[in-house]
């Protein structure tokens, strides 16, 4: 088997000490040409400037993170947030990102109606969809771990993301992250249901035991997630899209030199970002 990094991207939240050009250069220098871009770094450096820097380093962008959240006061409509998301789709198109990561927000400040808020989010996604189709940037529905339901996202399982995609149709897809989904008894089943075309990107990191806070993700291999098995499911369905390493780690990786994080990321992820060879890979 040949080892190549052509499907491997690092999500730039993994190296938050680096500015946009530092991250682009830092990843490319070690042979990683995929970078998932975060909005704050993009805004700091500028969209046009970022595009030039990406091109200069021969980089590709699986996704732009993240959408404007939709946990808007129930006394207000979502038009401002939807409009910001339209502009983010435009920016994503400009840097060639495959999708805009839809992190939909948690419970609104003035309501405890989780079902009602989930319906508002669905309606907002339907409203955003025509612009996504127009720009060619997909809405990347990423289920977040249920521990983020309060404040970050009410979309908490791949099953629900798949249900939403069924409803939205063309212009939407899912992004799955082992950290958010590893515990889910129907994770495999929902990966198979999604199939290779709907999965826009696939995220790696690991679940640490103990987990010390809600931003304490581990490096691939340091936790309890059976990543080889999950990679096997993706190979089985013929998934051919990106693999992203994304680590939120206040106490560990975010404190280290970014060069070290990139080096270890490559070491740990390389076995799990390969495309099986045509001979012998199919079961």
């Amino acid at each position: 088997m040949s080892y190549d990094l052509s499907r491997f991207a690092i999500n730039q939240i993994t190296t938050p000490k680096w500015s946009m050009p530092e991250a682009i250069d830092g990843y490319a220098r070690q042979g990683v040409h995929g970078i998932a871009v975060w909005r704050n770094f993009l805004e700091d450096y500028g969209v046009a400037q970022t595009r030039r820097e990406l091109n200069a380093h021969d980089m590709w962008v699986p996704s732009l993170c993240t959408s404007e959240w939709l946990n808007i006061s129930v006394t207000r409509n979502m038009s401002t947030a939807i409009d910001i998301n339209r502009r983010l789709l435009d920016a994503a198109a400009e840097i060639g990102a495959g999708c805009l990561m839809m992190v939909v927000g948690g419970i609104p400040p003035d309501s405890k109606d989780i079902q009602g808020q989930r319906e508002r989010v669905r309606d907002a996604l339907l409203e955003l969809l025509p612009h996504a189709r127009q720009t060619g940037v997909k809405l990347g529905l990423e289920p977040l771990h249920p521990m983020y339901a309060g404040d970050r996202s009410l979309l908490n399982s791949l099953r629900v993301a798949n249900d939403l995609c069924d409803e939205l149709g063309e212009g939407a897809g899912v992004v799955a992250d082992v950290y958010h989904c590893w515990w889910d008894p129907v994770f495999e089943q929902e990966i198979r249901r999604a199939g290779p075309a709907r999965i826009l990107s696939f995220h790696y990191c690991d679940w640490l035991v103990p987990t010390r806070n809600l931003r304490d993700r581990g490096m691939v291999g340091d936790g309890v997630i059976d990543i080889p098995r999950i990679k096997g499911w993706l190979d089985d369905i013929g998934y051919g899209g990106p693999f992203e390493l994304e680590i939120f780690s206040e106490l560990d990786w975010w404190t280290r030199p970014p060069e070290e994080t990139v080096r270890v990321a490559i070491e740990r992820c390389t076995p799990y970002v390969q495309t099986p060879s045509a001979t012998g890979a199919d079961k």
Copy 2:
């Protein structure tokens, strides 16, 4: 509507500064006669002594917390852990507890096979079941929040707990906690599926935003969970069992004087522990 506390219990982990006799006396003094008992306090004070103290204060016990965990090395069998759980069922019977809370443990130290471990847990529950039936103490299957799947429990949704109960039959039931299940899109559906007979106890607390660590539960009313709505589901199905307040709170409630915690608990929980009157309560 009359306000009574006859269905209300406090889980003694909510007031960890108190020893067993202090908690029994402290709850009873404020009119709460239900206490969910924790194993470490029970062992410290002794089972027979605890039973006498409970009787002297006219207390009832919804549950004994918790079972011996089952995340045993895959190179060993579970016979020792199952045997400890048999002795815990005996202790639960001696103090009149309705159920033994089955917290089944996370990932074993030498495996990442979550599916395989879930099967080992099911087999262990099947092995324990005859003793539960014999003692009359039920196995209380409590789904824990998915954020505890790594270290505390691989049983993470009421759906899976209901599936397990279908398999186990007589001698098992479920215990649901708003903290663990509030985010689940099928929580209501699975409460209705369980029905009143299978729900052995129902736990209250609240989900705080922000949540600062994995032991940061809130007092009823301080978070984002729609407790009145959930109580409505329980009334709808005719649930007539216990309501327990259970708060793990390293940064707040565990640091306060226990008398204060009990006082505020009663103020906050009273509306949600009432049995609807026969007239006008049915929809």
